[in-house]
Amino acid sequence: MPIRQSVLALALLVTGAPIASAGDDDGPPEPDARVMEFQLRDRDVVEAAAKHRTKIQQVPAIVTVITAQEIRDGGFRTISDVLSVVPGFDSDRWEYNGWYKNDLTRGMPRTALVLLDGVNIVEPTRNLAVLDRRIPIESVKRVEVTSGPGSVLWGGNALLGVVNILTWDGASNPGFHARVGGGHGPGEPGAVHAHLSYGGRFQRDVVKLWVGATYHTALAPTLTVDLPKVFGPLPAPAADGPAILGTREATSGGEGRSHTFNVNGKLEMGPVTLGLSTGFVRDVRGLGVGGALLATNHGAGETGNTDLASIGTEQMHLLYLRYASRFLGQTVGVAAQAHVVNWKQSQDPFGIFPRSDLLPAGGKTILESDGVVRAGGSVDVDVVLPWQNHLLLGGEVFADLSGVLHLTSFDPRAGAETKSGGCLPPFQFHPERDALRPCSLREAALGETRRIIGGLYLVNEWRLSNRFALSGGVRAQLSSTYKATLLASAGLVAGLTDAIFLKVNFGQGFRPPDLLSTSPTRGIASAVAFQGNPDLQVERSHSVEGELNARLLENAGPVKQWSLRADYSFTRLAGLIGFPGGHYDNSGDRDLHTVELMTKLVFKGGHELWLAYTFLDVIDAELGRLGNIPNHVLSAGGKASFFDGRFLVSAVVTVRGAMRDVNRGLPASAALPVLGLKLPDGLAWSEVTNVEVTSVPTTTQLRIGLEGRGLWNHLDVSAWVYNVLDQRPRDPDWFGDGRIMLRSQPKPGLSFAFEVGTRW
């Protein structure tokens, strides 16, 4: 505890945050009270979301701050976990049966810009930033989440929100810190976790260094599929068709071990910062992207096939150099940054279907990316002007360069016995790729692509008084691949009292088409095909928001602080890119109504209760009211602190409302013949018109944790049970093509985790 307090006190000194509190008037506060003051103030300050340091109640946007302390108290393991308690965000939505996870912002996937220390890490091929273990939570100092469009300030991808992830630095997290832990359970079997970091200051605090390394490994989770798919149609534009399903429930799990390794670092030398983040992921999944259990063998006999899972490898490497300083008596601030981000991925094997009499070698492809690079720079200037004006202006320019995305498809009809010359066109004989599937075709699913994007913005805030401010901004966005875009924003912040603020904002956002959707590559003959549309235009958002942000109580009886924020927003999304019939196109409008609420009650003694609620209603001009997202999401949590904060009991519960899912099931008669083919026992056809509308029921995710902190002065111990109720939620289909697919997607159940940490 003394060490932790000294760390926090150090942080206070470094950040220059004043330690003013009611306790100051009554003499020196107790150490624990001082820590609490720091924590409370840390939550009320916005460091990055507004591009300048300000108070959360005064920023003309809806901002949620989650500090490292809150991340630890809540047992959050990933940024997705963190976002799951932010109103308006619904994280951990599986796509393609666990291939990757999406974070939904106000019900829409991939609509938030994600910045890691100010660098855009949304990968442009799919407009995707996966926020799982690949961003180690131990390296995160705070997360600042802006709800609503933010493209005037932040540029592309800020369609419905901005997630600012800020990592530690040598001043705010000094010393060595080690954590080792593990876990088990059907939700995450055989997990092992380790983290080591060091932070320090040198040369009279001119040089600061923080570096951390994190490793995590676990076996594939246990997943139960009610009707296991043996064979079925591929996503559009591949032709639709009947599917073959097993008639009995089946379970996958433990097919292989996934590994994640990351190194993050930050070196500061006066006004210059060099930042690094590098991560490697090897991901093993027992389900095919369409929901097939790959390890099963439906009457095909033993073929010696060892491809019983999908194995993906992904890398992300980020390097940035930033200069930030203030001039002219602190009235002008300049931040200039150059950055490069590199992504690379492969899926080998990319299992689609298990072995069966119909597909003796199973369905398999290989996806390999030559890599994607984003390189560019930005300059932000803030100027304090007369008459209480504060001007922000700047711009950025960067290039997205994508290498070839290779897709190798294997002919499922050709087995190990096929000889040279025996492959059917367009497949070619390449036994070196896979001796059991010697006929394959390697094509470019995405050709080399490049685009240059630039933007200029200007935002001014006019603070008429401590309680009243007006702001307005414009941005011009230019690109080599899409039309120039002009955006505007406006905001009003009015303090009804010193503690109650009302905000009204108008914001606009845009999202450039992902590279996959615009690539002119055509004619993929064999398996999953992409038919890009180079004429796609950016997707736009226009939003009106109102927020009430209040501190209802402070230092009243046992209550240290009671805060509340409630907001309503109406957003119109225009030109959303859809995938009807396998062809990308800008489609009609989509209207979003959201009501978000968050309240937090902090008691003296370190106890806390909080509650977050989201109501969401999305109406698509073509699809009608969307049913595959929950209308209501409720999260609540709290912690009880004992023995001067050395012992904590914490719990977080998230209740996600019911959804509906349109899918295909088994026909009433399992023996329905299709095309005159007869199936073995235990399998059944599913006709494309055998449609069901099923309810995905309300799910309750509960986690409970016990923590001991500062034990024997140096030791932290924690134990958490995740998904205590062992609820196995299912996600409705979220395929981009809108085709009625098969069955909802299963997700993991209960797991527990323990960890021992020390600092010196």
């Binding site: 003959a525 409630a566 009501v595 349109v662 006709e687 069901e692």
Partner: protein
């Protein structure tokens, strides 16, 4: 203070109510016996609702170019670049294919029959012709789903004869906004 806050939240909730379009998803299969229309003709898909006929799609059939003609594609008659599905068949890789899926803006709750007619190219009359090629009576096959087997029409000039063979199947996924609770 709390009451004031709750009042604001309630007011915001009240504002969120709004009317949504109520589209219907239509899924069809056509058996291999369903052939391309003769020259100068195309097909039209209708449902009968409340005694009237609602036209959903005008289409024709053509060999699938990507599959060396091993099965027929179902293409929009008015825009032949739009492929809405295929007739049941096997593609060049031996995979069974087949099925048509389209979304229509109409709420077809209460639909009674689904039928397909042969129409003359260039005919601007939105009403169905009397040249019906298949028909099915829609019944509920699950929550919010109507389904049927599509059969050739009963010919009044034929008495007895062999049982009618199915030419396809159909399902209508009706709009539903009722599921809206925790």
């Amino acid at each position: 203070m709390v009451v004031r806050c709750l009042t604001v939240v309630c007011a915001l909730l009240a504002l969120s109510g709004c009317r949504a379009p109520r589209p219907t998803t239509v899924a069809l299969t056509f058996k291999p016996a369903f052939e391309a229309p003769p020259a100068g003709r195309h097909y039209a898909l209708f449902v009968s609702v409340n005694g009237g006929a609602v036209g959903l799609l005008e289409f024709t059939l053509r060999p699938a170019p990507a599959s060396a003609g091993t099965y027929l594609e179902v293409v929009d008659h008015r825009n032949r670049a739009v492929v809405v599905g295929t007739v049941d068949g096997v593609d060049a890789f031996g995979r069974p294919v087949g099925g048509v899926e389209l979304r229509v803006a109409d709420d077809l709750t209460g639909a009674e029959e689904l039928f397909i007619t042969r129409e003359v190219d260039g005919d601007t009359d939105p009403a169905p012709s009397l040249d019906v090629v298949m028909v099915g009576t829609l019944t509920s096959t699950g929550a919010d789903v109507l389904g049927t087997v599509l059969l050739p029409p009963i010919r009044s000039d034929v008495v007895g004869g062999s049982p009618r063979k199915p030419l396809g199947t159909a399902a209508l996924v009706l709009p539903n906004a009722e599921l809206n609770g925790l």
